[in-house]
């Protein structure tokens, strides 16, 4: 990313995906009379933009939280659970204080605390990350039954004045913060650089003199911030009920596709842009599917599955990736 002309070219390359997605969905919907209400094509309603933006913001927040751990070499199951728990607490705080800002602060605070606890158990227990985070997920999920009488949080998002961070323009605030947190950590902080080193050659990194425990802790603090921000968006858009049986990991999985795709698209620019763009593309697709009334059915699941497989297949061919990037446009056409 040295000269700006280069990066612009890259971003344009990346932008191909959502544009393509838009065109494809437009064609599909336009050719389907289900999608016309008294002659108007609902896919092109202003609602499209609102929905895409709102949902993309949610997706971006969660995806960043997942990706921050992934790119540091850890697959963290507990992100979803932390988010749900933070959401519940934040929502209730928000209701009590009747202030979305308080809710946001609470969410971030809780997010950080939970992440730190996870990091602490991970470091002290020296457990394999997946096992450790499965355990923490179970723990946090069980807590959702114990906080606020296990009520979860219902009416936070259904009240216009509390759920501002779930709608335009409010939703842009936490998203922007999340992106900022991610970018600052990855590209500016020492911890971020160390994390990069560790993820690429853990043992060497430690031998050279990086304090891995400290680094993990710092990384988790930033993850916590992002998770908190994701939580506030989530609780502003959804009813949050107590979860169990690792259901939260399902919630997290449901946002992981943009991570895969994002990192792939991101090859053409940087990962944040990639994830954001992937999210937008996905949401355009989702909206199109909704217009086709495939939005919530089995088909949507299957299409998702195909996407996971397809995109991961591409990004997995790491040796050929550079070639892909050069022919990105063509590849995408075949991918969709």
């Amino acid at each position: 990313m040295k000269n700006s002309g280069n990066i612009i070219k890259k971003i344009i390359l990346s932008a191909v995906f959502p544009i393509l997605m838009f065109v494809v969905m437009l064609i599909i919907t336009a050719s389907n009379d289900k999608c016309y209400v008294n002659g108007k094509l609902i896919f092109l309603s202003t609602d499209l933009i609102r929905q895409v933006i709102v949902n993309s913001c949610m997706t971006v927040c969660v995806a960043l939280a997942i990706w921050l751990q992934l790119k540091n070499g850890r697959f963290d199951f507990s992100g979803g659970a932390s988010m749900i728990l933070a959401a519940i607490i934040a929502g209730n705080v928000g209701l009590m204080t009747n202030s979305p800002v308080m809710a946001l602060l609470a969410a971030v605070a809780v997010g950080i605390v939970l992440s730190c606890v996870t990091a602490f158990i991970y470091i002290v227990g020296k457990l394999p990350i997946i096992i450790c985070t499965i355990g923490m997920t179970l723990l946090y999920e069980s807590l959702t039954y114990l906080v606020f009488g296990g009520q979860g949080i219902r009416i936070f998002y259904s009240q216009a004045h509390t759920s501002v961070f779930g709608r335009i323009p409010g939703v842009l605030v936490p998203t922007a913060l999340a992106v900022a947190a991610f970018v600052i950590f990855t590209y500016f902080t020492a911890a971020g650089r160390k994390g990069k080193v560790l993820s690429n050659n853990q043992r060497a990194g430690v031998n050279i003199g990086i304090d891995e425990r400290k680094n993990v802790f710092v990384t988790y603090i930033f993850t916590g911030i992002i998770i908190g921000l994701a939580a506030i968006v989530y609780v502003s858009q959804n009813e949050v009920t107590p979860q169990s049986g690792l259901a939260t990991s399902g919630i997290m999985f449901s946002y992981i596709v943009p991570v895969f795709m994002g990192t792939f698209i991101g090859l053409a620019s940087c990962d944040v842009v990639g994830i954001a763009i992937a999210a937008v593309g996905m949401e355009i697709m989702n909206y199109g599917l909704n217009c086709l009334n495939l939005g919530a059915g089995g088909w949507q699941q299957i299409i998702m599955g195909v996407f996971v497989l397809g995109f991961y297949t591409f990004s997995a061919q790491s040796d050929k990736i550079q070639a892909f990037v050069s022919r990105l446009t063509k590849k995408n056409t075949t991918a969709v």
Partner: protein, 418 residues
């Protein structure tokens, strides 16, 4: 992915939906006593005697399998049951069933039986045939609550409703046998228009749950349409009803999709037979139409009052819920069985009885409603004292009849709130 997620948690949301369409609370007009359960002294006497007046029933445990683990409805029901515990000499234990996994439900029931319950109140119609088999095998009685057991009623009537261990069920107001919800929705609409003669609602759209889950809602919708047509025949300002759109108007336990508003662009109000507070209203807020559109819906989640009638955005114009006291029906029947007695007029086969919904149409109704124990989650506001309930049992009161028991279910209306 968002929609996928929603699908994933839809099971939990259904629970929410049922909570909403489930429980309300009030006081029967006849009954003025509102002293706390704990303070009521119950009679004494040998446990199993079925005739002596005001005798204490056999000491027993009853397991209650809820459809979800949290929520106002569950809490107020628990509160009500616990208030009865001492007097009826019943210990209640709770568990939670899933909406979609028979095997899981069976295990839950088995665990209840293992923990030595004498009777079970079940609130989910899933895997009933195997569940009833378990109960028969273990000699445990089973009562239904909030659920119309339509699947079982149609597919396994002999196994379930004819089983001597199934005592019957109280349904949340919409037994497929006598659907009233369509008409009451229509009445609410007309009542609104009379109140707001200057700006009446002339164009509405509807939302229902899938037929496989709540067949009565489809019937209700038809009923509503019919009522509107009858009205239009005479009315000077006719009302248009958008026909049900197979996809967007049938909520598969996932929130309303925003494309709904595009598809019903001219609608002024949504008549939601599905649980609107959980599945319709939030989408309205997200789409920013909550001030322009009105909502008539089953269910009350808590918080609706802030935008009900003339308060707030005035989005809600009608809410419809059921009283937790209706659990008294299966409870009493179970207690009779456990104490080895029955009503003189006990029908041969188990029945499914619909409970009166009560309908919150106006600010006044809402005010009344806020005194109820659903809202306060306080058994002190319950409609029946433990003593009342004991008197409903065949062993607690020789004169008690099945007819009376059925009677209480129809008596729970908004007007019966003091």
């Amino acid at each position: 992915m968002k929609k996928a997620l929603l699908k994933k948690i839809s099971a939990v949301l259904l629970a929410g939906a049922m909570a909403v369409s489930a429980v309300g609370c009030g006081n029967s007009g006849g009954n003025t006593s509102n002293n706390n359960a704990a303070s009521t002294d119950s009679g004494t006497g040998a446990g199993d005697s079925g005739s002596a007046p005001a005798v204490e029933g056999k000491k027993c445990t009853i397991g209650v399998a809820f459809y979800q683990d949290t929520g106002l409805a569950v809490d107020s029901t628990k509160a009500y049951l616990e208030s009865l515990s001492d007097t009826l000499n019943v210990k209640f234990t709770y568990t939670v069933l899933t909406q979609t996994d028979e095997a899981a439900n069976l295990t839950k029931i088995q665990e209840l039986i293992s923990s030595n319950v004498d009777g079970i109140i079940c609130t989910m119609d899933l895997g009933m045939t195997s569940i009833i088999q378990e109960c028969e095998a273990a000699g445990v009685y089973l009562g239904g609550y909030l659920c119309d057991y339509d699947t079982s009623f149609n597919t396994a009537y002999d196994q379930v409703f004819k089983s001597e261990y199934f005592v019957g069920t109280a349904i949340d107001g919409q037994s497929p046998d006598d659907v009233t919800i369509g008409n009451s929705m229509f009445d609410s609409l007309i009542e609104y228009n009379e109140r707001n003669a200057d700006a009446p609602i002339t164009h509405v759209s509807m939302a229902i749950f899938p037929t496989w889950a709540f067949p009565s809602q489809q019937t209700g919708a038809d009923q509503f349409v019919a009522a509107v047509e009858a009205y239009n025949a005479t009315a000077e300002t006719p009302i248009t009803v958008d026909p049900l759109d197979e996809e967007s108007d049938v909520l598969a336990f996932a929130p309303l999709d925003t494309t709904y508003f595009a598809k019903h662009a001219d609608s002024q109000a949504i008549i939601s037979f599905a649980a609107g507070s959980a599945f319709v209203y939030p989408t309205m807020v997200q789409a920013g139409v909550d001030s322009s559109l009105k909502l008539f819906t089953t269910g009350f989640d808590g918080g609706e009052e802030a935008n009900f009638g003339t308060t707030g955005n005035g989005t809600y114009q009608q809410n419809m819920v059921t009283a937790p006291e209706s659990i008294t029906y299966p409870l009493v029947l179970l207690l009779n069985k456990i104490n080895g007695v029955s009503f003189p007029d006990q029908p041969a086969e188990a029945e499914r009885i619909s409970t009166a919904q009560y309908v919150i149409n106006s600010d006044e109704d809402m005010a009344k409603f806020q005194k109820s124990c659903f809202y306060t989650k306080n058994a002190a506001n319950a409609m029946y004292t433990p003593q009342d309930v004991l008197n409903m049992t065949a062993y607690g009161n020789p004169n008690a009849t099945y007819a009376d028991l059925k009677g209480i279910l129809s008596s729970m209306t908004i007007d019966s709130i003091k």
